[in-house]
Structures are given as structure tokens and as C-alpha cells.
């Protein structure tokens, strides 16, 4: 659950803080704002506890302790929820929303978020919310067991309950959109609808399917024999720490550890954590997972203090994934980054790389190979993994699919898009934990790629990115990201944010152009 949920708790420093000169505010606005800040500060204490409990559940908690751990976490989230449902609080939110023009940019963003959440949750009582979170928690535990045993039937009942709850929550919303999945998209990525996504993913299919055919049948030989050479945990750990340091991760304000599934957790302004997972026969897996999570972490570590002070934590999952995938792919898998890390990688993994050239490493890190597991897939086929999930979850939510049929449908789609078929549910429908917490998240990954392709092109106008990377000046990139990408993500919805950064309307073209250029070159098409 935490894997994809960048729940960053916002600091307590700003209780009552407000940058707009107080003379412009009426006394009532000032008082109400103070009350909102105070309540959010308290809610954040419960959220902090819940997040540590979830983090613990993902990293250390023993199997039989999981359910109780989840119950305690659910209780804490419920305390936070209840605080934001109190009459005094919701009245203050409605009042401030009506007087939003009197507020400064930060408070406005805070009140807009709180008002949206108030409207969406209006008819959900704390008791209902608590019941829901216990279901999600049990679903998570059952998913863990189901995946371990590669048996979807263990998860099936829970998944049905999750669907029921998701639909129930939507049915309780006033003026809900016609398609329930559009409501969920609105939760994760404001401004996106099924209609939009159908169009964007249609463009992807149109341009990537024929290209994939060409790649698969190309005569280009990419050397991959060294990819499965055995490495130790200690070597991978050394490499991961080198990469985090290189990227500018602040170890005084963050932690780095391991877990079954890599994730990033923002617990507090000074406590942003990344995890990775070590495979003895895939030395590159932990490298790219740590660059990905490191991207998430930089986004959080470089937030301006004002955002914390104003309890702002509104960046969408698409915004977040745009950054992690920017570092993982646009930077991490670039020719210049491979050039930069090649000597160190050879030093740390001599048994893997002593007979491998820089060019061979670059090509191997960019091999296109249809595969079953999303998190291990290459940059090119990744989008297909998302399209498959999007198509399925849209049907799950909007109707038209029986949960029991999911494993078969999943396998069929893998065959259709990628020409391969999972041999069991662990490598198929059970591979991701996301559905234990609901639906609507997956498109964020693909949208993230599209967002970052647009701001990569904008950054390129300011300086030569590949040159900066090759020279090891990642701080230059971080500084640009800080100023243009990170600072305002908590204060703006994705589409206006992207427009402000790039001066252009959203389009998947930049991403598709990038893929076409890069892979045409690598595969000499």
C-alpha cells in the first residue's frame, strides 16, 4: 500500500502560519484558518503513526503480526479522518472556501484540497471509513498470502469486497461523474477521464505496437549474457548507496533499507525513506529500483518549507511517478549516465563487468524484451503493462467483468499485447499489490512518463542535459527540477502545472517521439 502512496506528512511548524498579510483578512478568516491549521497538525500526528505502522508492515512485521499491525494503523487513520469530519472543522473549510480570495497561494491550495476532500467524503462517517480500512488491510494480508502461494482464489473474495467498497464510496458522492472510474481517476489524477486516457493510450498503441514488431524482429544483437551473473548483497548495497549519494539523497534526512517490494515513504520533512530489493542474479534490478525510488525521495526532500508549513501534500501520483521515472529512465538509462557510472560499476561488480564495454552496458540496460513482470520490464514495453492494467481495472469498476475471471483475462491480454503468457498467478494477476487498496492508480505510471518527456524537452532548452549528466553535475538537474517541477506540484493540479512548466498543453507526443528516436537508434531500424 505504501509502495505507491507517497503519504508525506506535513510538518507542525506552520500551525497558524499564513504569508498573506493579516490586514487583508477578516478576523473570522484568520480564526478559522488557525483552527484548520491546528486540526491538520493533530491529524498529521495520527497519520505519521499510521504511516510508520504501514512502513513497518512492509519491511519487518512478521506474518502473524500483520493483521493486528494493520488494525492499529487503521485506527490511527480513522482518528485523523474523524478530526477532519468534525462539524467545526468542516464548517471552517466551507467558510474559508467561500472566502478563498482572501487567502495567499499556499492557504488557497490547502483549502481547495480540504474542500474537495470534504465534498467527496461528505456522506462517509468515521465508522464507515474504519470498516473500509479494515477491509483494505485484510485484502493486503490476503494478497501477500495469495501471491506467496501463487493462488488467486485466496485473494478473490477480498478483491470483490474492495470493489464493493470502491463503488459504495462513489455512490455516496453527490454529483458523481457518470463513469465510476472517472471518479477514481479524479482522486488520483485530477483532470483526467477515461475518454482522455482512451485517446492517449490509443496513440501509444498506434505508434508503439508496430515499433515493437520491428524491434522484436530486428537483426541487432544486444549482448545480455552478463546480466544474470551472480553478485552479493554487499556489492548491490554498495552500488545502491553510491547511486543515492550521486543523486543527492540526504542520508541525514532519510533512510535506506530493504523490503519485498521497493517503495518510498515520506514520514516527515526530515524522514524520507527508500527501500530496494536485492536479487543475486540481477545486479541491475536494485540499481534501477533505487534510482526510481531515489527520484521519489528527492521530490520530497527538496520540498520548500512553506509547503510543509501549510500542510500541502497534494502532488498527484502522476506527478510523483513523472519524477521517479524521469530519474530512472530519462537520466538513469541514458548514454551519459551509463558513461558516468561505468567505472564505479566495474569496480563494484568486477565479476560481472570486467569483460563488458560501456556501450555493451548501455545497450543491455535498454534491451527491449517482452516480459511478465511490470516492475522488471524495460522502458519500452512498460507502457503495455500499464495499458493492460488500465483496461482491466476500468472494466472492474465500470462493470463488465467478473472478478473470478481476472486471471484468465490478464493472461489473455499479455498474450495479445506482448506475445507471452504467465504460467501462474504470481507472475500474472497477483504481481502488484495495488488492487488491495483500490483502483485508478496505474495510469499515473504511464502519465508520469508523458509528463516528464515534456519537461525534459523544456529543461533541454535551458542547458545540455546529457552533458551535465556525463560530467556528474546532477545537482544542476536537481536545481532545475526544484525550481520548475517540484515546488509547485503541491499547489497545482497536473495539467495547469505542466502548462506552467512547459508553456504547452499536455500531449503524449514528446514521450512517443523520445521512444521512437531512442529505440530506432539502439536497434538500428
Amino acid at each position: 500500500m505504501v509502495q505507491f502512496c507517497m503519504c508525506v506528512k506535513r510538518g507542525k511548524k506552520g500551525a497558524g502560519g499564513n504569508r498573506k498579510s493579516e490586514s487583508e483578512m477578516t478576523e473570522e478568516v484568520r480564526k478559522k484558518l488557525e483552527y484548520v491549521n491546528k486540526t491538520l497538525t493533530k491529524a498529521e500526528i495520527y497519520q505519521h503513526a499510521a504511516t510508520v505502522l504501514q512502513y513497518d508492515q512492509e519491511t519487518i512485521c512478521p506474518p502473524k503480526g500483520m493483521e493486528e499491525q494493520g488494525e492499529v494503523s487503521a485506527f490511527m487513520m480513522n482518528r485523523a479522518f474523524a478530526l477532519e469530519k468534525s462539524k467545526a472543522y468542516t464548517e471552517a473549510i466551507v467558510f474559508l472556501y467561500q472566502h478563498i480570495k482572501e487567502l495567499d497561494e499556499f492557504d488557497r491550495a490547502m483549502i481547495v484540497t480540504e474542500y474537495r476532500s470534504y465534498v467527496k467524503n461528505k456522506n462517509i462517517t468515521p465508522a464507515m471509513q474504519h470498516k473500509f480500512s479494515l477491509v483494505y488491510n485484510r485484502a493486503f494480508v490476503n494478497w501477500v498470502n495469495a501471491k506467496q502461494q501463487a493462488d488467486f482464489s485466496i485473494f478473490e473474495k477480498s478483491l470483490k469486497q474492495v470493489r464493493e467498497i470502491e463503488l459504495k464510496k462513489i455512490s455516496l458522492r453527490e454529483n458523481a461523474k457518470k463513469l465510476p472510474y472517472d471518479e477514481l481517476l479524479d482522486d488520483y489524477e485530477q483532470g483526467m477521464t477515461c475518454e482522455d486516457l482512451d485517446a492517449y493510450f490509443g496513440m501509444c498503441r498506434e505508434r508503439l505496437v508496430p515499433l515493437l514488431q520491428k524491434i522484436v524482429s530486428s537483426k541487432k544483437k544486444i549482448r545480455t549474457d552478463f546480466l544474470s551473473r551472480t553478485v552479493t548483497e554487499a556489492q548491490q548495497k554498495e552500488m545502491a548507496e553510491y547511486l543515492l549519494k550521486l543523486m543527492g539523497f540526504d542520508f541525514e534526512r532519510g533512510a535506506f533499507t530493504t523490503s519485498e517490494h521497493p517503495f518510498t515513504e515520506g514520514l516527515a520533512r526530515n524522514d524520507i525513506r527508500v527501500t530496494t530489493h536485492y536479487y543475486p542474479d540481477m545486479f541491475y534490478s536494485s540499481m534501477f529500483s533505487i534510482i526510481h525510488e531515489g527520484g521519489h525521495a528527492l521530490f520530497e526532500q527538496y520540498q520548500p518549507q512553506e509547503n510543509y508549513d501549510h500542510h500541502l501534500n497534494n502532488k498527484t501520483m502522476g506527478q510523483h511517478e513523472s519524477v521517479s521515472r524521469f530519474y530512472e529512465n530519462r537520466i538513469g538509462r541514458s548514454r551519459s549516465f551509463i558513461h558516468l557510472i561505468y567505472p564505479k560499476a566495474r569496480e563494484i561488480f568486477p565479476q560481472v563487468l570486467s569483460d563488458v564495454s560501456e556501450q555493451e552496458l548501455y545497450e543491455a540496460m535498454n534491451t527491449v524484451q517482452p516480459s511478465l513482470i511490470r516492475t522488471e520490464s524495460d522502458e519500452f514495453t512498460y507502457t503495455f503493462h500499464i495499458i493492460i492494467r488500465y483496461e482491466l481495472e476500468k472494466q472492474i469498476v465500470n462493470g463488465g467483468v467478473d472478478i473470478a475471471d481476472l486471471p484468465g483475462l490478464w493472461n489473455k491480454k499479455y498474450e495479445q499485447y506482448l506475445g507471452i503468457r504467465p504460467q501462474n498467478d504470481r507472475d500474472g494477476v497477483l504481481q502488484d499489490m495495488h488492487w488491495a487498496s483500490g483502483f485508478g492508480y496505474f495510469p499515473a505510471y504511464a502519465l508520469g512518463n508523458m509528463y516528464n518527456a515534456m519537461y525534459y524537452n523544456r529543461m533541454q532548452q535551458d542547458f545540455d542535459i546529457e552533458k551535465a549528466v556525463a560530467g556528474g553535475h546532477l545537482d544542476r538537474i536537481n536545481d532545475w527540477m526544484k525550481e520548475h517541477v517540484w515546488k509547485k506540484a503541491d499547489r497545482q493540479d497536473p495539467l495547469p502545472w505542466l502548462k506552467e512548466i512547459t508553456g504547452r498543453d499536455f500531449t503524449p507526443d514528446d514521450f512517443l517521439n523520445y521512444l521512437e528516436k531512442k529505440y530506432t537508434e539502439i536497434y538500428e531500424l
Copy 2:
């Protein structure tokens, strides 16, 4: 703080449960009992969260995240405290204490504990308690920094504040004992006073000081050259897991990880965790620390469900340490245990043990060598480390010592008792984290040794312990411990508990006899 605080949360299953036939209870007793159970169940949720936060602080939390993490934990502990301070709750406790004869054994133990706590905390408000815990938390953070920099002055102010709070809390108690340190002893080890400890430690000094002289000047050569041979973390981890498994630690209901200072944390009935620390040039350090923590963990994992159902968690630190040190020393450093693990140890650490005989390993694990660090000290000199701390903290609390003078006093006592002098505060007064949380804990370690020597002798009457160990039948020992030692520790104060187990009154003699016999033999005196 958690290192020595076996905060085991008690399950939620028993809310309202009561084994005494309900007909023997009046309606009011039944109702009040139900209310108490309900309140304790809720308090335990907050305690669970606080304990996970503390565990996290000790294992993963980054330096700059520590203070906020501690604040959230303090908030949660305060919520639990406030629940137990409510008028309805304290009235129920007083009422049930007056009707204690109507209750069964379990509820009686629960009510006695709650009543004691009510009396002790009567004049402490939740606001005061919260202020106190922030001071302890800051003291912990400062202690970490002070130790890292080997500079007592960083910790000095905090330690003064801790003393102030400890004295303030005692001054708020009605009918407090004459000596403030006696109040603290009563918190950690009911039934013990300074007068008792002075007598017990006097006996230790009398019998151990001359024996130490003999040992130090003995001609016996014990081979120790192999002790500093380098091992990897992976080897130590394999050994630690082997030992935990051998001992009967349940990995489904517990976790095993690492931390700066080894400790055990009981988070829930099905979530008991141990940690260790790996030193590359002390292969045996993690072995004995894991046997020690494993002992704590078994004590918790083998608790009867009824104790959880009745919110019983009253075992004293002396009772707990008696068990951990039983496994660490009486079992772990015995000839038969070394015999049992010798082949496996050779297999895991070939570079250390290939030229070392079983007898040489046994003797090396029992070398007596005055040293500076308590947690690394041998079984024999360990008691001196405790006597030093006891003498100092008694003075800190009862008066007669200036906090600023502690480093010097500490060093002087090490010179006096062990003939060695710390070269810096890290190896001296700053080595233990205990004082950041208050005073009165240390005697528990020495008392634990004395308790287990008494029940070891009683166990020996039932079966041949060394024979069982040599044959690998540790389950036999666990079964005996479960029945005689563990089951009732939550329902009885240490002295009546020991009397019930052994049929005898408490005495340090068994412990001193054991040490004399063992070390006279090893050193051929």
C-alpha cells in the same frame, strides 16, 4: 529506551473476558470490569503505535527525523496515559480493588497493577506526563549525539532534567518511601530496597573480589588468538538464525533484524522482535547477544493466551533479565551448549574455528577479562559493571553527587573495581542508554542472575540440564520454563514468584556458588 523495556502489548481478545464464574460477581463488579477491559484495550492500541515508533527510532529512523518521531510516540503514550487517568476509569479501579476478592487470579493481578499505577500517578496530570516524555525523548536524542562524539557535556543538561523529573514524580507520590531510590526500585523490582541491594551486592563484593584477584593472577593459559579473526555479516546472520531456531524462536510470530544496540521488543502476542549487531572482528558478540535477546523473546512468545486476554504485562525487569541471562550464560556458555553448537559454528566460521578445539572454544567463551563495556563483558566481571552503576545512580537519586562529576566518578570506580580506566566518555559513562529514561533499572540485571541461579538449581532436580542441552533438547528446558518460570511472572511479584518456583527465599548464594565452582574449575584454582 526499548532495549531494556519489554513493553509487550496485550491482546484485544479478552475485552470483557473473565474466568471467574459470573454468578460469584455482583452486577456492578461485572460492569466495572468490562469498562476497565474496554479502556485497556483502547490504551493498548496507542501503546502499540508508540512502541512501533520507538522500535523504528532505534532501528531505521534517520538522525534528523528522530526528534519528531519521538514527539509522535510521546503523543501516543500520552493518549494511553490520559485514558487511564479518566475519572470513570480510576473510579472503576478503586472500586474493583475494594472488591478484589470477587475476582479470579487473572483479573486480580490486573487490578492490583492498575491500582498501584493509579496510586503512583495520582497527582500526575496527562499534561505533566506529556511534558516529561518530551524531556526523556530529547535526552535520548542528546545521548545518541553525545555518545557518537564521546562528549558527556552534550548529554549533561538533559541528564540533569531527567533527574529533576524523576525526583519531581517521586515528590508527587503520597506516602513515598524515605529514600527516593527505593521508590524507583519499587517501580522496577517490587519488594527490593537499597538496604537489600546493599546487602546482596556486599556479598558479591566479598566473594567475587578475592576470586577475581586469583583469576587475574592465575597461570592458566586460555587461547584467545582466534577471537578477533574477521567474519562477514552474512556468516554472523546465518549463525544468529541457526541459534534462534535452535532455541525455539517462532519466526512466524517474530522478526529478527539489526540495530546499533541489540534489544527485544514485544509489539503484540504474534509480533515479538529481536535485534542484534554485527562486529566483523568479534564473531561471538552477535552469537551471545542473540541468545540473550532470544531468551527475552521466548519469555514473551510462550506466554499463555490468558495473560494477554487479561492485559497482564507485569513481569519485572529482573524477572525478564533472569530469563535472558539464563539462556545467555547458564545455557549458552555451558560446556554442553558449546558441545552442541561446535560443529555448526565450525561449518559457518571455518576461517575462525578450523584450528580451534571444542574445549578451546568453551574456555574462550568463558575467559575472565576486566573490560570497559558492560554489554561485551564476561559473565564473571558483569556483576561489577552493575555494582558500579547501582552505586552511582543511587547517589544521583538520593543525593550526594553532581551530574557534572559523573564521568570522573565513573572512571574512578572502574579503576577501583576492575583496575582499568576508560579513555573517553563513549567507553565510560555514555555507554548505556538507560539513564536517558531514568534510574533504577540496572540492579535488575544482577538480580536476574541471582534469580536464575535459584531456578536453575530447582530445574536440575527435575532433570539433567547439561545432558538435555548436549542432546539438543532445548524444548525440554523451554517446557519447564513455560510451566514454572514464565506463566506466573505476570501475576506475581518477583519474591513470591521465586518462592513458588523454588520453595526457597531469595538469596544470592546460588549465583555466587555457581560462579565460584565454574571459574575455579576453568582457571584451575
